[in-house]
Amino acid sequence: MIAELGHLALVMALMMALLQAGFPLAGAAGGVPLWMAVARGAGRAQCFFLLAAFGCLAASFALNDFSVAYVAQHSNSALPLYYRLSAVWGGHEGSMLLWATILGLWTLAVTIFSRSLTEDFVARVLGVMGLVSIGILLFILLTSNPFERLAVPPADGNDLNPLLQDFGMTIHPPMLYMGYVGLSVAFSFAVAALLSGSLDAAWARWSRPWTLVAWTFLTAGITLGSWWAYYELGWGGWWFWDPVENASFMPWLVATALIHSLAVTEKRGAFKAWTVLLAIFAFSLSLLGTFLVRSGVLTSVHAFATDPARGLFILVLLGVVIGGSLMLYGLRAPAVRDNARYELVSRENLLLLNNILLVTAAGSILLGTLYPLVVDALGLGKISVGPPYFDAVFAPVMAPVFLLAGTGLLFPWRSANLTAIAHRTRWLALLSLAAGIVTMAVFWSLRDIKTLATITLAIWLVVTAGYTLWSRIRLREHWLAGLRSQSRGVYGMTLAHAGLAVVLIGIALSGRYTVEKTVRLAPNETVAIGDYVFTFRGTTRVEGPNYTASQGEFAVRSGTREVILKPEKRAYRVQRNTMTEAAIDPGLTRDLYVALGEPMDNSAWSVRLYYKPFIRWIWLGGLCMALGGVLAASDKRYRVAARQKAALSATPSSATA
């Protein structure tokens, strides 16, 4: 019964999406206020039905209703309730439902926080979001219905993949999807602006907070995913350039370009067409990413071809969204006038350069991800594109991005005098270089030129962000007043740039100075990495709710401090696979990481040990960037703009086309 209600709710949501797209878009085109007014109500109703559908699926999981095929596939009665609920998005169908539900939530948010927008603009934004929703809901209902029943229900379910029975995996997908789907708001704003022909500074201002929030979720989602991979996959890595990782990284890169480009459009009225194009790209890549991961095309091009229903639907949907929006862009963009003036050396151009670099980086990842698929599909052979390729191509494109992220802040808008800037800030550069050299000389070695360069670059990022903040504060008589007078946007930017530096330091130091040892250890044998002495105390048998584990015990001693680490080797009963649960002693300057390998003779085990300096900074930096995004999105001017209800509805919308 519950599953049928869920199915019904999903169909109702589709009906609401049809209303939400049809009437408002037609109303906005024809100037019929009554039709436009449908948008908010339909959007809220759609959100309600999606939440209901999602709730029904969650209830089916909670009640162990194994007659629902999806529940039988991804859950088990021995699975703790907490994981039964997160199992809702543990497979394809549920993930798509989560995607749709999150789109419903974003729609709801737009209906609430859009009071300062003109009626026809709101109608168009919600209409476009409705169109996206129609596509996704049709996909779910026609090819991936999570509520399908089994004729003969099994006695118990197949259990959730053990890798997903974990806190990180519980919150990572919703976070990531909040980001992916959030970009649909930026996309809808862009398409609405193209439809109405009012691509202006006001549009950029409305669009900015939404884009920032989506970017924040995406940043947090990617950071969480990387952290999860590190502690759960057991190989001590944090990024593998796996297609599924790339699928989330590409939209992030473009969204990063987008938030910077939006700033230029708002402040200077430049890059309008480019900003719109970025919004279209960012969402297209989110959609592509979702489907790359979901369609099975990554496993093999042939698997994709054997189940053509899903694959074809995906291709058509992608074609309609990307092709349609680009066509609209092609029709409308030539009429967009960018009349801001700026010279070759100016902050505008540095930001544009950074944008180009970010988009190129995203493009390279796209190329590397799709290339083997295309080569295979064309029957030209099978090749692999992996980390060595991405490292080789990505690093040279991104290095200038980091450099510019600091340097660009020193440049004024319109036109900049290179000599004057160099003169004014030469001590900043010297300071960064000196700090980099001293740090490397004291703690590591000056011979690692690459690490030295990266550390210097990171310090440069912090120094320039700090200097920019200071030169703003200095304008006030008292520094406290100066601190208080800065907007959250300024603090957000400073924090995000500093976060980038923290990430960079983490990547450089953990990459260069990780120590890894694979050894055979019998009980009470020891092995040392640097100052850390690991003593193996043997293993014990541990029973979990749905697994049995061999739990090792290691005492790690450094000076007088001793910690106990308990890595596990788990055998999950239902899915019959073994999992390594690494044990980690986390620290700000280093992680100690122990993973059990295989049992050997005489109760000895092969054991893998890592000393990973500063690895935590990678996720810490990601967190700082996300916090920066939160600060910037909560800037006062957006909130004030939202409260001024009549502000813009009183303004005649310019040139409705």
Partner: protein, 154 residues
């Protein structure tokens, strides 16, 4: 959701549980040799897994291939010879670093060509902008912006 699918697929295929079980205990002549071995198994692909290097995979084939690479390195042969051996047996698919040949030219050069194109775009754009001498915001836009700002100040 990015990892879940990877994870599910991984479990489906023979023994490729994504855990660091490459825990054979190896002895090397010196650290250079060890680093060479480690880098090689990182850059070679486990052929029966979804997307894992030899170093990360638990599959039997990956184990065997690690042994092969180890033997080749220990016998004093070069990295190229080790790679050559695997490519002859399994084709380019085993290489995570795709070889540069006509079919991969676009892959290797594409990003840099795109970047060059982007730089030219900036140049031409700036020229265009330097040439136009129109007011920076249109009258309608200025009006709207003024209203926006007026409202913010209230």
């Amino acid at each position: 959701m990015k990892h879940s699918v990877r994870a599910c697929l991984l479990v489906l295929c023979c023994g490729c549980v994504p855990v660091a079980s490459a825990t054979e205990i190896r002895t090397f002549k010196d650290t250079t040799e060890q680093l060479r071995y480690e880098q090689l198994v990182e850059e070679l692909r486990c052929l029966v897994c979804q997307n894992q290097s030899l170093a990360d995979s638990d599959a039997d084939l990956a184990r065997d291939l690690r042994d092969e690479v180890y033997q080749i390195i220990r016998s004093g042969k070069s990295d190229e010879e080790a790679v050559q051996f695997l490519v002859e047996r399994y084709g380019d698919f085993v290489l995570y670093r795709p070889p540069v040949k006509p079919i991969t030219w676009l892959l290797w050069l594409g990003p840099f060509v795109a970047l060059a194109g982007g730089l030219l775009f900036i140049r031409s754009r700036t020229r265009q902008h330097a040439a136009t001498r129109s007011p920076e915001l249109s009258a309608a836009e200025r009006e709207r912006l003024r209203q926006l700002e007026g409202d913010t100040r209230k």
